[in-house]
């Protein structure tokens, strides 16, 4: 049926395509150029983002003495010591971590080179989540129980590795830690790192609008944090600092 009165479906589709009404294309080249000319956004350097940020900055000032006592300061990451938020967030794995994805899609989406632990026996992550914000994306790799990495009974997760770009638009990341926590300086492949152990700690970040975003995941377990090549990393759930460093140094 390919005569003039009954053209093939493909020809009809091509003809229809030539008459499709798409919305007018916006001036993306100008919009993108404007964005690229803007300096990297650092919330604590004066970008007006409203009352929420002002409150956050005030809280930072109040807590800075405590934080300074520990000498912490990662690019894109702020460790703030204070009382745990009340009520405590429930232990949930899901929305706060973003959307389930694949390694390939996560790598295509984030603006940094995603790395995966290659520690023997760990294998591939069981779940991969991609979250935005932060700008540039945050990827969380979840491992269920592995040899040497027992699962947390509440979450059934043995190990968590999180990475987010801190070089594109580093928002203010905050870690709220209640009293009794211990922070130990460490090294990951020669790079300065911190082992946050004991007590309950919560991971938050503040997006470009100054909103506090709760990563939702709370293992109440110990965490190794470091920044390397513009990417902030967290390894959570390892039974010891040595185990966490082994995972960290196996990233490829």
């Amino acid at each position: 049926m390919t005569d003039e009165r009954h053209p093939r479906l493909e020809d009809r589709l091509l003809d229809l395509g030539s008459s499709m009404a798409f919305p007018a294309t916006p001036p993306l080249s100008a919009l993108v150029a404007d964005r690229l000319r803007q300096p990297p956004r650092r919330l604590w350097l004066g970008r007006p983002v409203g009352r929420a940020l002002a409150l956050a900055l005030a809280a930072t000032v109040l807590l800075v003495g405590l934080a300074a006592a520990f000498g912490l300061g990662l690019g894109g990451l702020r460790l703030i010591f204070g009382p745990a938020p009340s009520p405590l967030p429930s232990v949930v794995i899901g929305p706060g971590l973003g959307q389930p994805t694949t390694l390939a899609e996560a790598q295509e989406t984030v603006t940094f080179s995603l790395r995966v632990p290659r520690l023997s026996g760990l294998g591939d992550p069981d779940l991969i989540y991609l979250a935005e914000p932060p700008a540039g994306g945050a990827v969380t790799l979840l491992y269920r129980e592995r040899d040497g990495f027992p699962a947390d009974p509440a979450t059934n997760i043995g190990l968590i590795v999180t990475q987010f770009g801190a070089d594109i638009a580093p928002e203010s990341f905050e870690k709220l830690i209640d009293s009794g926590v211990r922070v130990t300086p460490a090294k990951v492949g020669g790079v300065a790192a911190w082992w946050v152990a004991g007590g309950e700690h919560f991971f938050f970040y503040r997006d470009a609008q100054g909103r506090v975003v709760d990563s939702t995941l709370r293992l109440a377990s110990d965490t190794l944090i470091w920044e390397e090549r513009g990417v902030t990393h967290r390894v959570e759930g390892a039974p010891s600092l040595a185990d966490a460093i082994r995972v960290a140094e196996s990233l490829q």
């Binding site: 479906l9 003809d15 395509g17 030539s18 294309t25 993306l28 150029a33 989406t109």
Partner: protein, 190 residues
């Protein structure tokens, strides 16, 4: 447009310049691909404002990722993959599906000779029927048909946008076409 000895810069030269930090070279790339990027995003998110933001996100991510662009690879599918991912993320964040209803202009007569008013009317009716059938398909089928026939993407580009192997593109397009034929009551001519 940037030129060398009177000729337009080749795309790979733009890419190289952009990788070295030449913002105007990247702007040229954006200008060249902004329409296809925006329309691709629009087909995924189904909203012009969201599509603009997704395409912008995609270009910014592509800029940040230029260092990982493989030399010698095709830029357009690489870019469209990134834009499509940005669009899918926006769609997920909005927690809704793209309920895109495609529309056609009324004055899209084709052919060399001036058609009669009756022929124009008939052609218009046929386009309307076909478009209605496409809009009645599942979102996934509608997307694959629109990418192929309305944006005229090639297989590699479709695979990038759909985030699947090229073989899967063929099968998805084949299935979508079969369902469209069924919807309009047409029998495939092999």
């Amino acid at each position: 447009m940037a030129e060398v000895e009177g000729r337009p810069l080749l795309e790979r030269e733009w890419i190289e310049s952009a990788r070295r930090g030449d913002a105007s070279a990247f702007e040229e790339l954006v200008h060249r691909y902004q329409e296809i990027a925006f329309r691709t995003a629009y087909l995924i998110v189904g909203d012009a404002d969201e599509a603009r933001d997704a395409a912008q996100d995609g270009f910014l991510r592509a800029h940040a990722a230029l260092g990982r662009f493989r030399e010698g690879a095709e830029f357009r599918p690489w870019l469209l993959r990134i834009v499509a991912n940005a669009a899918r993320n926006r769609r997920r964040s909005a927690a809704r599906r793209a309920d895109l209803a495609l529309r056609a202009f009324r004055d899209a007569a084709s052919g060399d000779a001036a058609p009669s008013p009756e022929a124009l009317l008939l052609a218009e009716e046929r386009r309307g029927e076909l478009l209605a059938a496409i809009n009645g398909l599942r979102v996934e089928d509608r997307l694959v048909i629109a990418l192929r026939w309305f944006l005229e993407l090639n297989e590699e580009e479709m695979a990038a946008v759909l985030n699947c192997p090229r073989g899967t593109v063929k099968s998805r397009l084949s299935r979508a076409s079969a369902r469209l034929r069924e919807a309009i009551g047409e029998v495939a001519d092999d």
